[in-house]
């Protein structure tokens, strides 16, 4: 083997098998997502609403044991336009990843925006979920294909900041 061909590293693969269990809060949330419903969880102390919930309010360090049904409408709290393809990701760039703040929620989550020219996306824009056909619903937020703009006035995101009650 010539010096040029010689590798200066050794393959050292590792692979580990797991059985993920969702825990109580995530299970409650995903069981509703399977039915096409988005149900956040609210803090008994400060009443902040978390979606998706992890079962606790990090502001207060207590369990979020109050279920709060939410709509699938909200606004864009922030976004980025992805121009570079990510290996293994089937979506063709350019596309938009946005932090979605659902109405009534106090945190946002990441999802896709489609149905609009990427140049027109802006913070505060009103959006609504576009769901996959019902027979494709599983225990996943991928039941929502993406969010798409709706004809409602923009929101001033500064007003979304959590107000200590």
């Amino acid at each position: 083997m010539s010096e040029e061909e010689k590798k200066d590293y050794a393959e050292s693969p590792i692979n580990l098998e797991y059985h993920y269990t969702a825990g109580s809060a995530t299970t409650r949330f995903l069981n509703q997502v399977k039915e096409g419903k988005i149900v956040g969880q609210s803090c008994p102390k400060c009443s902040a609403v978390y979606v998706p919930p992890r079962g606790s309010c990090p502001r207060c360090g207590v369990a979020t044991n109050i279920e709060v049904p939410l709509t699938d409408k909200g606004c864009i709290e922030s976004f980025t336009i992805v121009h570079i393809p990510i290996p293994g990701n089937p979506i063709v760039p350019p596309y938009v990843c946005a932090m979605i703040r659902l109405d009534g929620a106090n945190i946002s989550f990441l999802h896709l925006i489609q149905g609009i020219d990427v140049e027109e996306i802006r913070i505060g824009m009103r959006i609504q979920a576009v769901w996959k056909p019902k027979d494709e619903w599983t225990h996943s937020l991928e039941n929502i294909k993406w969010f798409t703009p709706i004809d409602e006035p923009d929101v001033d995101v500064a007003t979304l900041r959590f107000q200590e009650s």
């Binding site: 797991y18 606790s56 207060c60």
Partner: protein, 351 residues
């Protein structure tokens, strides 16, 4: 140097499979139990430190998610060790000794049930010479057991006694996972997993969490009239190359014994992070504990939450000192293959 005391310890019941609870749901109850006992909240904690291993869950930065279990508003001073939470306690103690904090919350959590612990633990070994062979934790422990047996440092009877006593002592421990008694016949009838170790010689796969609060001397007396002081603590690590270690000579522990002047102390109780039966008589002999009640909780053989069991040894020693007419306790935490890391903690109750 400022003195540091333990003022509270709480342990989640050890579970075979905590699938119904995510990390946050595992940690929150023990932290709240401590806060409620002491009548405080996260606002009274100056420094928070946790111990866990992301590979157990198979999620990078799983420890950051675990942090959702505690109140982080206003923002807190926080740290994490990818080790047993006993080391998180060590870091927290140093923080208090340095004067950067007066109180510290320590927690550890481990869910071994979702993954295959044997494969996962192989990854802590040397990645060039050892990990690619996928040596499991039981086989590595068994290699040390055979050395100790061959040299008559321990006997097979002592291993059986360690198993029987652990099961018997589990009645003292409301959080123990394995409580079924075992007799010599059942032990001898058991097939080896990795000889010379059989299933009774090994700890159960365990899920759980624990938390502890420590404080400076002045602060400790605000919480309790009888704080348990950390009088001495020492941690040593031996070579990661197990082939260059003498597996029958605990050079790290011997150095700690000298450093802490342990031979001068009459211990009333000891809790050892002995995950395998042969480690019990071995460390009892090294630490000169033949007359000292050891592992009254049953120890790791009746419940062994990864990343917690070392902190639990300290916590169980604390509980023993608190609830008995005891003065001095010795706790031991370990990590790595064949007792590679060892931490000794001398706890003392002031009268």
């Amino acid at each position: 140097m400022r003195k540091v005391a333990i003022v509270g310890y709480a342990q989640h019941p050890i579970l075979e499979n905590a699938g119904a609870l995510n990390e946050v749901e595992l940690i929150m109850p023990v932290v709240h139990q401590l806060f409620d006992e002491l009548g405080i909240s996260q606002n009274n904690i100056d420094f928070t430190c946790s111990g866990s291993c992301d590979y157990l869950q198979g999620a990078a930065f799983a420890f950051v998610e675990g942090l959702s279990a505690i109140q982080t508003n206003p923002p807190i001073k926080e740290s994490h060790v990818e080790m047993d939470a006993a080391w998180a306690m060590y870091e927290s103690m140093l923080k208090i000794q340095m004067g950067d904090a007066d109180t510290a919350l320590i927690y550890g959590f481990g869910k071994s049930s979702p993954g295959r612990l044997d494969s996962i633990i192989s990854l802590q070994m040397d990645p060039y010479y050892i990990s690619p062979l996928w040596p499991d934790r039981v086989s590595l422990a068994a290699i040390q057991a055979r050395v100790l047996l061959e040299k008559n440092i321990i006997t097979p009877e002592q291993m059986i006694t360690a198993v029987i006593e652990a099961r018997t002592n589990s009645k003292n421990n409301k959080n123990a996972l394995v409580t079924e008694l075992v007799d010599k016949e059942a032990y001898l009838a058991s097939e080896n997993i990795s000889s010379p170790l059989n299933e009774f010689d090994c700890p159960p796969i365990s899920d759980g969490s624990s938390a502890m609060i420590i404080a400076s001397e002045e602060k400790a007396y605000e919480f309790t009239d009888h704080p348990i002081f950390i009088e001495g603590i020492d941690h040593r690590i031996e070579s990661s190359n197990i082939g260059s270690r003498d597996l029958s000579k605990p050079s790290g522990i011997l150095a700690s014994i000298e450093q802490l002047k342990l031979e001068k102390i009459k211990f009333d109780v000891a809790e050892l992070h002995t995950q395998f039966s042969h480690e019990v008589p071995y460390l009892q002999s090294v630490l000169n504990l033949s007359d000292v009640p050891t592992n009254l909780s049953g120890g790791p053989l009746v419940g062994n939450v990864m990343m917690c069991a070392g902190l639990d040894a300290i916590g169980k020693t604390y509980e023993s000192l608190k609830s008995h007419d005891f003065t001095n306790g010795l706790a031991h935490a370990s990590s790595g293959p064949c007792l590679q890391h060892n931490m000794l903690v001398h706890l003392e109750k002031k009268s």
